[in-house]
């Protein structure tokens, strides 16, 4: 058998080597290490905030993980818009939930941001700062009275004038609990905790009774938990964070007690909402926040849990539950401002929001819609009970997450909270560090 020179064995004393081409090795290594990272940039042609012209032209509408379940709804919505405004054509695209911010940043950087985009307040803030989100106070101020004041204000960015997205649907949800686990721990399943004091006391009891096998909570406190606890999150000017105050330290100290007693799941430090939900389904965790959507999931995937499911209100010290706000933004560089603004308004108007709310457990942000009998009249089912309670609480709900609280800041807070729970830092030190990190990121823009 004949082998090539490069691969032929050579003998050196008693040692035998099969030499490899060194240059090939080096080239392979360089090829491996070169493509470490890269980021693109780009820009759009400028648009106008004048939405008074004729509504016409082709526009693109991007939603956030809605195609899988709501294609017929959006097809009908788009058809109705195109019928109302002949000469328009709406191309609908949908992006998966995972990596949505990355997709937006790639589009924004590459100058391919759609004309109308589904956003949340924390996503719209950097887009507005980069001049990519249209100021709707200027372009569509006349529609402002159609929406709840708080919802309209949710897409305003501290330090900037203007509103950068139409409010779309709102969401909030109750706290689910496992009645069977409550009973096993000697807690009254008919009387779930209503205050933080009751929650923490019950959680410690649950951990003690189960020998640390059943935790009550599965997630470390996030910025909205601090808000619900009554912590001041940011100064009024929106220039510095302030959640390292006495109340903030108090909440984190209580969580540390829970963590030490295994009343907070040991894997909470790395938990995601999905993993926490799974733990609740399997009975490893006794309480978990959710929405009316989850009831279906319990019914299908955990029938025994569904038979034992308890539903209670979010616990707050402020009297205001947390709400999530979705918005619809108009690309500031759209070539068809009248059509883009008209479509964004059409998607979020009272009639279409109401129609969407009847398809899925979300709530309209338009004024008066929450008084519709659909959100006030009981029919004896759990779903309706959750819906009515949520709609009622939404009237005074607050979006606790500051618009300027970026993903990097969330990570900084989470890491510092974890250090406090592990006992590597005091709660005060951890929150000071988190605030310093968030402030530094805020200053860096």
């Amino acid at each position: 058998m004949v082998s090539s020179a490069a691969n032929s064995p050579t003998q050196q004393g008693s040692r035998v080597t099969v030499p490899m081409p060194r240059r090939a090795l080096a080239a392979a290594a360089v090829a491996l290490v070169l493509p470490l990272s890269a980021c693109g940039s780009g820009g759009d042609e400028g648009g106008s905030t004048d939405a008074s012209g004729k509504v016409e032209g082709d526009i693109t509408f991007q939603t956030w993980n809605l195609r899988a379940n709501f294609t017929p709804y959006f097809d009908r919505l788009i058809a109705a818009f195109e019928k109302k405004y002949p000469g328009t054509h709406v191309k609908w695209i949908d992006q998966p939930a995972e990596g949505y911010a990355d997709k937006l940043s790639a589009d924004a950087g590459g100058g391919t941001l759609p004309d109308v985009v589904n956003v949340s307040p924390d996503l719209v803030a950097p887009l507005a700062k980069a001049g990519l989100a249209m100021d709707l106070d200027k372009a569509a101020g006349k529609y402002r009275p159609e929406y709840l004041d708080g919802a309209w204000a949710s897409h305003q960015v501290p330090g900037m004038s203007g509103t950068y997205a139409f409010p779309w649907y709102l969401n909030t949800g109750p706290l689910f609990y496992n009645k069977a686990l409550f009973t096993e721990a000697g807690l009254n399943p008919g009387r779930p905790p209503k205050t933080y004091g009751e929650l923490f006391a019950g959680a410690l009891r649950m951990a003690s009774k189960s020998g640390g096998k059943v935790a009550t909570l599965a997630n470390v406190p996030t910025i909205e938990d601090f808000g619900r606890y009554g912590v001041t999150l940011m100064d009024k000017q929106g220039t510095a964070f302030a959640f390292n105050d006495t109340k903030g330290v108090e909440l984190l100290t209580r969580y540390k007690e829970l963590y030490d007693a295994k009343a907070l799941d040991p894997q909470a430090l790395t938990a995601t909402p999905e993993s926490s939900g799974k733990k609740f389904l399997t009975g490893a965790v006794a309480m978990n926040p959710g929405s009316a959507l989850d009831l279906d999931n319990f019914k299908k995937n955990a029938p025994s849990l569904y038979r034992n499911i308890g539903i209670t209100d979010q616990i707050t010290s402020t009297g205001h539950v947390n709400m999530y706000v979705m918005g619809v933004m108009v690309n500031a560089h759209t070539r068809h401002t009248p059509a883009a603004v008209a479509f964004a308004h059409f998607v979020t108007d009272a009639q279409n929001q109401m129609s969407f709310a009847k398809k899925v457990a979300i709530f309209p942000s338009t004024a008066g819609s929450l008084n519709d009998p659909y959100f006030t009249r009981e029919d004896g089912t759990d779903e309706t009970r959750v819906r009515i309670a949520a709609a009622k609480s939404l009237k005074s709900a607050v979006n606790y997450t500051p618009v300027l609280f970026s993903d990097q800041m969330k990570t900084a807070l989470r890491n510092e909270v974890a250090k406090a729970l592990q006992g590597r830092e005091s709660p005060k030190q951890a929150l000071d560090n988190a605030v310093n990190a968030a402030d530094r990121l805020l200053r860096q823009g």
């Binding site: 099969v18 030499p19 490899m20 290594a29 070169l34 493509p35 790395t270 990570t411």
Partner: protein
């Protein structure tokens, strides 16, 4: 005759034309991003905002960034944990499956299967296995050891991720070793046997020296891959990099810092340049060690 003249005229450009597709792809997807990253590392560029030149500020900042040192520590530990295993275990595996005996193809395929499996699928399966209530912990509890926090303890998490990397990489490097072993002359083994060498002695005195260059190649490739590890740790430790971010690797830090609408592209680029420099240094170290051994 006319044809040969035409061919001769095309000769100077022909090699470039043949190379053009590859050069274009390399230029667009390797060289341009590399140069762009290098340039960005000296700016304060954000995802959506253009940067301005800040000199070495990003590099100075990372020297004072705890997460950078955590990332560097974890990436280095990853090399220390993964590379020895990936140099030795695939060689043993290759020796096992080298022989042509009935049914050996099944084992070769089985050992190679993790290589072609999606890392996301593999990662999720291991997360389920190692969960507090997963199969592994149930078994440990059954035999009286009790539950182990594979996914909640920062060191166990890193070790678990290393185990997955080794498990997934075994088949790949095994194939490389199989190719190298095929080139080892059988006469050497026969001669060693005649001289009274047993299997262990033959392994150390014949097999290992014969595949030494391949071992260097495997060490080089696996150390670069280990230093750039992302998926395994991301999947098992979560996007925040484990408890308090203590399992974050350098590439995870690059991803976390530089992506999203508020990503710090300039700083992430500086981190990438450091990763590049360390990796090249690592390669040079391995090659130098190889050269010294040979001489």
């Amino acid at each position: 005759m006319a044809v040969s003249v035409r061919i001769r005229r095309q000769l100077p450009t022909s090699p470039w034309l043949f190379a053009a597709p590859g050069l274009l792809v390399t230029g667009a997807f390797v060289l341009y991003p590399f140069v762009s990253t290098l340039v960005n590392s000296f700016t304060d560029r954000r995802t959506l905002l253009p940067g301005r030149f800040v000199g070495l500020a990003n590099f100075r900042e990372l020297l004072h960034d705890d997460m950078f040192w955590t990332g560097l520590r974890n990436s280095t530990l990853y090399i220390a944990g993964v590379v020895p295993a990936l140099v030795v275990l695939p060689l043993l595996l290759a020796l096992l499956v080298q022989k042509n005996i009935p049914g050996i193809t099944f084992f070769r395929s089985a050992f190679y299967t993790p290589v072609v499996a999606s890392i996301v699928v593999v990662g999720l399966i291991w997360v389920w296995l190692l969960d507090e209530r997963g199969l592994v912990n149930s078994l440990l509890e059954t035999i009286g050891i009790g539950r182990v926090g594979f996914l909640s303890d920062q060191w166990l998490l890193l070790l678990s991720a290393m185990a997955v990397t080794v498990w997934k990489g075994l088949g790949y490097y095994m194939v490389i070793y199989l190719a190298a072993l095929a080139n080892v002359p059988r006469e050497l083994h026969e001669a060693a046997s005649v001289d009274g060498a047993g299997p262990v002695r033959r392994f150390f005195s014949v097999t290992v020296p014969a595949v030494r260059s391949t071992m260097v190649l495997v060490a080089a490739l696996s150390s670069v891959a280990a230093f750039k590890v992302f998926s395994e740790v991301y999947l098992m430790a979560g996007p925040t990099g484990g408890p308090a971010g203590e399992d974050t690797t350098l590439v995870m830090l690059v991803q976390r810092t530089g992506t999203g609408l508020t990503g710090r592209v300039g700083y992430a680029s500086a981190l990438s340049v450091v990763v590049f420099a360390v990796t090249v240094a690592l390669m040079l170290l391995v090659l130098r060690a190889d050269r010294r051994d040979e001489s």
